[in-house]
């Protein structure tokens, strides 16, 4: 039987010629990930089960990124628990404040994931690495605990939705607009239990940062994973980041898909997801011109990469953040921070009146570094706008691209870059 790209990777990881959608298999893992919120729960489970050895100290990544630098005593205790475990087990890929960054920006950057890998992470946005041609998906802490012990995870083989991309983006349109458009089209459970496989001649026009952003939000459509084919851009990226030798899997020509969706990138325009679901998308012809905002956040595992700050800086250069707006700039990793600094982007942001933060998840999940009060409104380049996600249950988050976020910061309302 013919298989999709995802099915082929899963089959290889359980040493089989083929797998069938719906069946449950045990797959061998190339990387197991956890953070300062999910790893403590996993570590407690691991210890409770009286297991003393991890399956492979080089295949576990522990990243302290959510409530770090620690926001309070409880958060500090959680981090301490992870730190002690990492030292005791001699975990190679342990990242503490000073080396850490938002996990899903950090792992690809450090070359810890390559094409053909199977990765699970106790964080829902683990699906990000599909951009590299890997199968990666989010799981819970108990899964992580079992995986740290056995190096395996149970997986239900997913069906796939084929998303065929044609054309290329117009100015001020990016991967974020593509993925928001897609979620608006199919809904937050539109791909439940399924893979989103991106194909078509439009793929080559997407940068790696765009692909990482698109796969990052696959979970916002309920998908198990998002995945791109491996092309020259992927191979260059993997080489540059010194990842392991890629194993390239291609979908069979006659692979069966649950559904096919066509998207012409030429037709996309800046897109915003209104509160309180990522599927509430609108384009600017339907967005009122008086939607005043209080805060802008540019960062996160979705849009906290270098190209995102380059885009935002181009728009902010020589301009001032609106007097009623606080604007947070949060590079996702130390390397991105350093690169942005060397490029002079921080000067542009600080001149404009932004606050530049050390890498952290921070406000993305309502942790710290920019929590919203009752009734406040924020435009964020993050990935979720659920009730209370960034603070008070009566605050509002509008999800958008870095270009829209930067323009909104300047104009003090939800605004399009073209308006400047």
């Amino acid at each position: 039987m013919s298989m999709t790209q995802t099915q082929k990777i899963i089959a290889a990881a359980c040493g089989r010629d083929k797998v069938i959608p719906g069946e449950i298999v045990l797959a061998k893992l190339n990387m197991v990930l956890g953070n300062d919120i999910t790893a403590p729960v996993a570590i407690n489970e691991f210890r409770k089960a009286k297991i003393d050895k991890v399956f492979d100290k080089d295949k576990i990544a522990l990243v302290l990124d959510h409530f770090t630098p620690n926001k309070d005593i409880k958060a500090a205790e959680q981090s301490k628990l992870v730190r002690e475990f990492a030292r005791e087990k001699n975990i190679t890929h342990f990242y503490d404040v000073g080396q850490a960054g938002v996990e899903h920006a950090l792992l690809p950057e450090k070359g810890l994931v390559t094409a053909g890998d199977v990765v699970i992470g106790a964080d829902s946005h683990t699906c990000t690495y599909g951009a590299l041609g890997a199968f990666s998906t989010g799981v819970g802490s108990t899964d992580m605990a079992a995986a740290m012990a056995s190096g395996k995870a149970w997986l239900r083989v997913p069906e796939a939705i084929k998303v065929v991309l044609t054309g290329s983006f117009k100015k001020n349109v990016s991967g974020k607009d593509l993925v928001l458009h897609l979620i608006g089209l199919i809904g937050v459970d539109g791909a439940l239990y399924q893979s989103l496989e991106f194909v078509g001649e439009g793929v080559k026009n997407l940068s790696m940062d765009d692909r990482l952003c698109v796969c990052n939000m696959a979970i916002e459509a309920g998908a198990k994973n998002g995945i791109f084919p491996v092309d020259e851009k992927t191979l260059d990226y993997l080489k540059k980041h010194k990842a392991q030798e890629p194993r390239v899997f291609e979908a069979d020509k006659d692979a069966v898909y649950a559904r096919e969706i066509q998207i012409n990138l030429d037709e996309l325009t800046p897109t915003v997801a209104f509160p309180h679901l990522p599927e509430n998308t609108r384009t600017f012809k339907d967005i009122p011109k008086d939607l005043k905002i209080d805060q802008v956040v540019i960062g996160s595992c979705t849009n906290g990469r270098l190209s995102d700050f380059v885009t935002a800086a181009e728009i902010m250069k020589g301009r001032k953040v609106h007097e009623n707006v606080r604007c947070m700039i949060i590079p996702a990793t130390q390397q991105i921070y350093l690169d942005a600094m060397k490029m002079g982007l921080f000067e542009i942001f600080i001149d404009a009146g932004c606050a530049v933060s050390t890498p952290t998840c921070g406000p993305c999940l309502g942790g710290h570094m920019g929590i919203l009060a009752e009734g406040e409104r924020c435009v964020a380049t993050t990935n979720r706008n659920f009730v209370g996600r960034m603070g008070h249950p009566k605050s509002e988050v509008y999800l958008a691209s870095p270009a829209v976020a930067a323009a909104s910061a300047i104009l003090g309302r939800v605004a399009e870059p073209g308006e400047l």
């Binding site: 449950i24 045990l26 919120i37 999910t38 403590p40 729960v41 407690n44 489970e45 409770k48 089960a49 297991i51 959510h66 409530f67 926001k71 309070d72 409880k74 958060a75 959680q78 992470g121 106790a122 964080d123 829902s124 683990t126 989010g138 799981v139 819970g140 802490s141 108990t142 899964d143 605990a145 079992a146 012990a149 056995s150 395996k152 149970w154 937050v188 459970d189 439940l192 239990y193 309920g222 198990k224 679901l277 999940l365 309502g366 942790g367 979720r384 659920f386 009730v387 209370g388 996600r389 249950p393």
Partner: protein
């Protein structure tokens, strides 16, 4: 196993941020998490809940983050079972991995209805409305995990 309780009813897309807001994730203590369970969608959740009650919801229950703190908070609060039209996949696997029973069903359930769930027979009964639905049993592999009392026990018994 037979579970009995009244239903607390919620709609579609109940996300993990309302089940347990991130501001409480600086702890992994189950009791403390349970005390804030569903707080952002229903302030009175813990007041209304009696041990054994069930949560009944619409589509995509538990969407959003992978936080296992969500099913853990629900289970520790005293909920015996979550019934929904569909579940988000990470919530689904977390519930199985920690041993919180979940049932996929379209049966019409209103706030306060008396519910009986027969997990072995796969029968869900709304005693108040006098209606019933059958649900398919879990696959043998998942039944193995549930029978062992969760994933870590299954691991120790050599099932993984």
């Amino acid at each position: 196993m037979i579970l009995k309780g009244k239903a607390l009813q919620y709609g579609d897309h109940v996300d993990t941020d309302v089940i347990i807001p991130a501001r409480y994730l600086n702890t992994s203590d189950p009791r403390e998490l349970a005390s804030h369970c569903m707080e952002d969608i229903d302030r009175d959740f813990n007041k209304k809940l009696e041990p054994g009650d069930v949560i009944a919801a619409g589509n995509n229950f538990g969407c959003g983050s992978s936080r296992e703190h969500a099913p853990l908070a629900i289970k520790t609060a005293g909920v015996s079972c979550v019934i929904a039209k569909s579940f988000a996949r990470i919530f689904y696997r977390n519930a199985i991995n920690i041993g919180l029973p979940i049932v996929v069903s379209d049966l019409d359930i209103k706030e306060g209805d008396r519910i009986t769930v027969d997990l072995d027979q796969g029968v869900l009964t709304n005693e108040t409305q006098g209606t019933q639905d059958k649900f398919p049993p879990f696959s043998p592999f998942l039944q193995g995990i549930i029978a062992s009392g969760g994933l870590m026990n299954a691991l120790k018994e050599g099932q993984l």
